[in-house]
């Protein structure tokens, strides 16, 4: 039986085949307690559908917003989330950890 976990990349390939705009968000750094390890990924299509995760649900909404912007302008983004960064971002991590997320368009 084949491993079923993590089919984020396969979903991206399927969306791209349908001609959709797609962005990929990847956890690149974590400090303290963080719900998803470095390398965790979330993919977003141009309608806002998403698969995968970069946290336990705390920051997905903000990441999806940035991903949609990246699909439009093609720029990469580097996002910082954490309890010490509440001014910079509206959302934080209730667990007290910090994560950095890299967002890029797939093209």
């Amino acid at each position: 039986m084949t491993a079923e976990a993590d089919n984020v990349l396969e979903q991206i390939a399927a969306w791209r085949k349908e001609g959709k705009g797609v962005a990929l968000a990847t956890v690149v750094t974590t400090w303290g307690s963080s719900p998803r390890p470095v390398g965790s990924q979330l993919a977003v299509d141009n309608s806002g559908k998403f698969v995968g995760s970069v946290s336990g649900g705390c920051i997905e909404g903000a990441v999806v917003e940035e991903a949609l912007a990246a699909i439009k302008d093609g720029e990469t983004r580097f996002l910082d989330f954490g309890v010490t960064n509440e001014q910079a971002w509206e959302v934080g991590l209730a667990c007290g950890g910090k994560v950095q997320v890299f967002v890029e368009r797939v093209a």
Binding site: M1, A3, T26, V28, T29, T76, A107
Partner: protein, 227 residues
Amino acid sequence: MKDATLQQILADQAAKRAVVLATDLASGDERLVYPHEAGNDPLLGEAQAAARLDKSGVVEHDGAKVFLNVYNPPLRLIIVGAVHIAQPLARMAAMTGYDVTVVDPRAAFASEERFPGVTVMTEWPDDAMATLAPDARTAIVTLTHDPKLDDPALEVALRLPVFYIGALGSKKTHNARLYRLGKAGFSDADMARICGPVGLAIGAKSPAEIAVAVLAQITERLRQPPV
């Protein structure tokens, strides 16, 4: 990420080939590094370390921050004994991210009806092990409690750096097993690698509950290996 890069990673995953994606976090430039192949990529050494530890992360290279994302082939679970417990264990392990192979030379047990969609080998366990070449990302569990089937598999497993070895059977069965393996030349330290009776002690009764206990113990050995 470029579409071509995505397609190449998917092809590597289908071929069970480890690959590391190196992305410059400032420019977004990316390239693939193959940790198990010779090459002269300046990041090869760091990609090899990342793949070995199965740990993605940011490295500094020539003043640039580069993210190394490791795409290792899936972890593997080899189940010896196509018994009732193997049915839920194969499905749960696949959900957890393992490539599962069930080994049992008894055709009545190792049937397609009992294991739909599961890779089943009907060779004797020692022959099957030679084919499968278990490595440090492989777990092995024996479930037949028949020494003719379990022991050859365990004797192969104990000579390999697999991260988990479990053997079903009561304390009495397990002690008899250890006695036989000792006679076969294995040391106490070797045999201490075998988790037996198998699974975390959570009072599991049904085959599915025992599968949960076994998969929990495999997870523990993977994520919190004994020092």
